[in-house]
Amino acid sequence: MPDQTVLSLRDITLSFGPKVIQKNISLDVHKGSIFAVMGGSGCGKSTLLKSMIGLLRPSAGEYHVGDENYWAGNEAHRTDLNHRFGVLFQSGALWSSMTIGENIALPLQMFTDLKPDVIRRLVELKLGFVGMLQAIDLYPSEISGGMRKRAGLARALALDPDILFFDEPSAGLDPITSARLDDLILNLRDGLGATIIIVSHELSSLFHIADDGIFLDAKTKTPIAHGSPRDLRDHCTDPQVHAFMHRERDEEGNT
């Protein structure tokens, strides 16, 4: 089933009140792919992600998760669908009053009937995946930014979701940690069979891991290119996409 569509957006328009952020977004995310949402700063990448994980209702268009219309049902229906999602927020968004272990255990305590020792075992496993087992009893304030991000990833994996959303996973990480995170993402994708949507403008990482994507333009407020970052780099003729992929300055001197 190589071409199974997991998420599909049709003519989605995102806006805050009268202010339109992006319009006419249509995209399909295939099972097992790593889908990149690209674009310059302020083009609405994070807003699109927010809308895909249910934090912002689009003002027009249809959003399907699997066969289900995401925004058609009530809140409980969306919560059910959200359990297929794991989200890694930009700065980890760990709950600061809990230890790392408790952060990952909370969704398991809330949504499964598992016993505490089983939960502990699963928490250790998830932390083991991201190489953070030693930090299980530490508080988020006691660990570094990169570790917070990995702990956030472990929490995103808590309920074994099949769709993972990453908001700028490598922002603020050094190149080595960032490369390791890329490998980890690839390993998790292959191992878990998960589908990954990633918002980023870290080019080297995008070229390395993403196999599909969309490019949002801030000026026209609409997507201007579809395809994997590697393809867009090598074949896209749109000057703006070309400039982005090759880190060139555009005519106004912006990077």
């Binding site: 496993l125 998830k126 995946f129 304030s141 292959d190």
Partner: protein
């Protein structure tokens, strides 16, 4: 995550066959781990591989047979990780090439000899030592707050001399928040306090046909104590808590660090407007509280007792001298400065997480209220000695 059904597995559907099962077979030097059934973490029935499940056999290779596994998720990986750690201790190497690719990739992420978790070492202090360290900390805190007060006064002097770094707009917004916006709640509370005092007084004084002295009781109580203390308690909860929460959030956002790097002193930029706004508004709120409190007493006395409005008014005016007023007025100034300084100090001292913001706000309110009452007691003793 989705189930992963291994192709070619026998489609046995009976309930028993779907429970996760394992057994070891083969030679001791080349054991084979045979896995079967459905391994789902959510079901909670994932077996634990026993710590003594493998006999020590250095140099041996353990291979896997997974063709009977019907579906799996991270639950199976948890079991394999147990096995990996036990095998590592027993000196047996795992032949992970015999695992399907996805299982192998996940298992390779996991360490075979994990580092010990880092724990907080909470040293239990002896009881007396705890008291001692708390005492020292409290005394230090008094010193720190005093120093902060001195810095703030210095900032105020610089502001007056025109070498100012305080922005007028900060002072105005703080003053608006601590003053006009607090009028309603200060009014309601003081009105009720005055009314309650009048109720209590009226019941007793009526027995002695001294109902008119309700006016004196309410007047003196409000002017000397209640208006100042109640207003201060409200402001400690309302404005003190807000200052502490705001400053500790700024701490968490590294905004305080940014101020420090620019060399903008927090004492003049943050604390001075906060303290000054309370020092400006508290006396006004005190006067307002006195008036409203007496109005509350007036309403109750007029409706309950046989007193004329003019009589109540006259009795109130003659009840207390200007000395009482100055006493209450001075207290309200001190309360304002105290609440402003302590809540800012607590905000500056707070940690950087969301929980710390809550702790800081709570502490500011508690310290504010307890401190106000304690200072009031000190004032009472001084007033007694001076005979005010």
């Amino acid at each position: 995550m989705t189930d992963r059904t291994e192709t070619g597995s026998p489609a046995t559907q009976s309930g028993n066959d779907r429970t996760p099962q394992w057994h070891l077979q083969g030679e001791q030097n080349a054991p084979v781990m045979v896995l079967s059934g459905t391994w789902q973490a959510r079901t909670g029935n994932i077996p634990v591989f026993p710590k003594d499940g493998l006999k020590k056999a250095p140099g041996a290779h353990l291979s896997f047979q997974t063709s009977d596994v019907q579906g799996w998720d991270t639950g199976l990986i948890a079991f394999l990780w147990d096995l990996k750690r036990v095998a590592h201790d027993a000196g047996i190497s795992l032949d992970i090439q015999t695992l399907p690719g996805p299982m192998r990739q996940l298992l390779e992420l996991l360490p075979e000899a994990p580092d010990e978790p880092v724990h907080h070492k909470k040293l239990r202090q002896p009881f007396l030592e705890t008291i001692g360290s708390h005492t020292i900390a409290s005394v230090t805190e008094v010193g720190v707050v005093s120093e902060l007060g001195a810095l703030t006064v210095k900032g105020a002097v610089q502001t007056i001399l025109g070498r100012s770094r305080m922005r007028l707009i900060d002072l105005l917004t703080n003053t608006a928040d601590a003053g006009p916006y607090a009028l309603l709640i200060v009014g309601v509370v003081n009105f009720l306090i005055g009314a309650i005092l009048a109720f209590v007084g009226a019941v007793e004084l009526q027995k002695f046909a001294a109902g008119i002295y309700v006016a004196s009781l309410v007047g003196i109580a409000m002017v000397r104590e209640m208006a100042a203390v109640m207003t201060a308690i409200i402001m400690a909860g309302r404005t003190g808590g807000a200052y502490a929460a705001r400053i500790s959030t700024m701490q968490g956002n590294e905004e305080i660090d940014a101020l420090n790097v620019f060399g903008i002193p927090t004492s003049t930029y943050l604390i001075l407007p906060a303290v000054l706004s309370l020092i400006i508004t508290m006396p006004f709120l005190y006067l307002y509280g006195c008036l409203i409190g007496m109005l509350g007493g007036f309403v109750v006395a007029i409706s309950m007792l046989d007193i004329t409005p003019a009589g109540y008014f006259h009795q109130t005016v003659t009840a207390f001298g200007i000395g009482q007023f100055i006493f209450g007025f001075t207290k309200s100034l001190v309360f304002g400065a105290f609440i402003g300084l302590t809540s800012c100090r607590i905000g500056l001292k707070a940690g950087r997480s969301a929980a710390d913001v809550g702790i800081a706000a709570t502490r500011a309110v508690v310290v504010g209220i307890v401190g106000v009452i304690a200072i009031d007691a000190i004032f009472a003793v001084i007033a007694d000695v001076l005979g005010i």
